[in-house]
């Protein structure tokens, strides 16, 4: 039975974003859009999460935090980099303290560019992530990712 895609619990982390993308994420999670329709739950706990939504270009201060959170999410898990900062570092990529994108620290599965992201793109990104989650779940069941 495939249920990973029907029950995606989502955790959001701001890795030095300007808050522009975060506002879009939080807006999409308000009761108005009712993401619980798709079984999505916004959790604050990595142990309970399936989808890791990260914004910002990651700096020296929070790269350890990002890595730590990622490690605490049990497989199967999917990382969505939201915004151009998270995807590549954006305009901040050459700053001395910026790592330049989430994928410089942890593996990223879905990139959602934009500054800030459009809600449509964000939703499409999460839907893509559900597909990846299903694939990984099959791999975990076959013992591949353990």
């Amino acid at each position: 039975m495939s249920s990973a895609g029907k029950s995606p619990w989502l955790m959001h982390y701001n890795a030095s974003s300007c808050n522009g993308c975060d506002i879009e994420i939080l807006a999409a999670l308000t009761p108005l859009y009712d993401v619980e329709r798709f079984g999505i739950i916004n959790t604050g706990n990595p142990a309970h999460a399936d989808i890791f939504v990260v914004t910002g270009g990651v700096n020296e201060q929070n790269k350890e935090v990002l890595k730590n959170l990622y490690d605490q999410i049990p497989e199967p898990k999917v990382v969505v980099a939201v915004g151009i900062c998270a995807s590549s570092g954006g305009v901040f990529r050459d700053c001395y303290n910026v790592s330049g994108g989430v994928d410089t620290i942890i593996p990223v599965d879905v990139y959602v560019p934009g500054c800030s992201v459009r809600p449509e793109a964000l939703i499409e990104g999460v839907v893509k992530a559900l597909g990846v989650l299903e694939e990984k779940r099959a791999a975990v069941d076959n013992g591949g990712l353990r």
Binding site: M1, S3, A4, K6, S7, P31, D34, E36, R37, F38, G39, I41, N42, T43, G44, N45, A47, H48, D50, Q72, P74, E75, P76, R137, V140, D141, L145, R146
Partner: protein
């Protein structure tokens, strides 16, 4: 009640309670969504969640969590099986309390700050809920002359006639037991909260699935206890229980969470005024039926 009936009751509980408990949880989430002008998840969402959790990687903060959460689930199932086989109400109440001890130990085992706070709050929950459950057993004994559920259900008068105070106190504590606002201090079913799910914060995957399953069992046990008050008139009983559950959902949506001190004070006061006074009055009147 003969042994065959007793065994059938226990087996039916063990099989059907998770199904019914999961459905109640699903309907609960849909009703909550409707109260917030949302559509909400499918009714079967709790089953999708459990199935997903079951297939997650087995990651533990401490491997002993696996044993402790299993103990929690098994003891709750045992407690319900005793109840539905017509067994001793005292044993039901004590097995229920012991089961929560296992959950608390599982949370302590993680040795993490949030988990520890959750464990302490769960402990407070047990302290708050236990007196009324014991009063309930004592009340049924005074009214029917037996601690055995099989005797209580065959009593010609419904216990609610003599124990309205105990029933109302149980209804108040049900809010805490169902993990609903304003008393959801140890963990809640809501998307996000400050203690990121308190007592379950270090549990994941299968261990979390077991805790959820145990919660479904417990929901059925508590609703069945409420039904016991209406033994002579089960139809009325079911109507009252449905109304009570609806009120719980309504309260969950109306009230913000209170502090642990407020939880203790208010629920102990209710237990004392409604529960203990009810028993005391019965005692003064000379123990109705015995």
């Amino acid at each position: 009640m003969n042994i065959v009936m007793a065994a059938a009751g226990a087996v039916l509980f063990l099989i059907l309670a998770p199904v019914l408990g999961g459905l109640i949880s699903g309907v609960d989430r849909v009703l909550t969504a409707r109260m917030q002008s949302r559509r909400g998840p499918p009714v079967l969402q709790p089953f999708y969640d459990i199935s997903k959790l079951w297939h997650k990687e087995r990651a533990f903060a401490n491997p002993v969590e696996m044993i402790l959460t299993s103990g929690y689930l098994i003891l709750i199932a045992f407690s319900g099986a005793i109840l539905f086989s017509g067994g001793d109400l005292l044993l039901v109440v004590f097995a229920l309390a012991l089961s929560h001890t296992f959950l608390i130990l599982a949370a302590y085992a993680a040795n993490a700050p949030y988990s520890t706070v959750g464990a302490e709050r769960e402990l407070i929950g047990v302290m708050v809920a236990e007196p009324i459950l014991i009063l309930l057993a004592a009340g049924f004994f005074i009214v029917t002359g037996s601690f055995f559920v099989s005797d209580i259900v065959s009593d010609p008068t419904s216990a609610i006639v003599y124990l309205p105070g105990v029933f109302l106190a149980l209804f108040a504590v049900l809010t805490l037991k169902l993990r609903k606002s304003p008393f959801d201090i140890a963990t809640s079913h809501h998307a996000h909260q400050e203690l990121v799910k308190g007592v379950t914060s270090s549990l994941s995957g299968r261990t979390l699935a077991k805790v959820e399953l145990a919660h479904w069992y417990e929901t059925i046990i508590l609703l069945a206890m409420m039904l016991l008050f209406f033994a002579a008139n089960p139809v009325l009983g079911i109507i009252v229980v449905v109304i009570c559950y609806f009120l719980e959902i309504l309260m969950d949506n109306l009230f913000p969470r209170v502090t642990w001190k407020m939880t203790m004070k208010s629920l102990w006061t209710v237990t004392l005024i409604l529960g203990a006074a009810n028993i005391a009055v019965l005692g003064i009147l000379g123990g109705v039926m015995v």
